[in-house]
Symmetry: C2
Subunit: 126 residues, 2 copies
DNA sequence: CTAAAACCTCACGTCGATGTCAGAGGCAAG
DNA sequence: CTTGCCTCTGACATCGACGTGAGGTTTTAG
């Protein structure tokens, strides 16, 4: 498929796909006229890239991890696996932090609701 | 305390504190010469602001929520509470997404390790 | 009193993932 | 062949939370 179709099916912009290629996250075969062509597998790859971006990884970091995804355990595997564990730990810490923040928001909302109910007469719970 | 001390105790830069004030997230009393002064309470407020930034909220969104923190249930409380619930939900979704990503990373690491062990002779687990 | 350190207000620089525009070529349908 | 849509490269624009430096005042330590 060509770049437009991949973009639509993966739910990203054409611009982003070209950017991923520029960053070494994605490859494409070129037709004689220079147009990029992709296989269906690339859809999954793109969504995974998006997932890593959403997890706060940079292009450079993703580029370090993806070879490990492609071909498990080549030469780089040792370093890549360590890098991966490191990013997993960072992500884990981040999740814990966000969870605490969510709890803080919950507490604030509970306090606000309680305060409001202390003002209005306690009608049947809406 | 003055801005430098608050910055150090809250673990942020002086620049950030001025920026927060510019965005309406933080207030300060000014001395005759124009220097900012803060109370101990502001430390907690700043760390909470940082927490919200880490949760992916923008300055503008934080500015909408903080009044609700300051004085629970003023006039704005109804809209602010809804805004808060909305952000909590967004955060919740984000946490779920990150958790899935963490699981994906775990799976990848497990696969890489398994692949490696299938090559090297199964020595005693290091 | 004096020098160092902290503070003030602009205001421009940065970084990373994308948007967007320009100018040119490719490809299928009528 | 032409019309219209897709694609190409290249390059500048954007946005948000700061970093950083200039140029000047205030506070503090000796």
């Amino acid at each position: 498929m060509r770049i437009g179709e991949l973009a639509e099916r993966a739910g990203v912009s054409v611009r982003s796909l070209r950017y991923y290629e520029e960053q070494g996250l994605l490859t494409s075969t070129r037709s004689a006229s220079g147009q990029r062509h992709y296989t269906d597998d690339e859809i999954e790859r793109v969504t995974f890239i998006q997932r890593l971006y959403a997890a706060g990884l940079s292009s450079r970091t993703i580029a370090e991890l993806l070879p490990c995804v492609e071909s498990p355990s080549t030469e780089n595997s040792d370093a890549a696996l360590e890098r991966m564990a490191q990013e997993r730990d960072r992500l884990n810490d981040h999740i814990a932090d966000l969870t605490r923040t969510r709890e803080a928001l919950d507490a604030l909302m509970a306090a606000a609701r309680a305060h409001r109910e202390s003002l209005r007469p306690p009608v049947a719970a809406a």
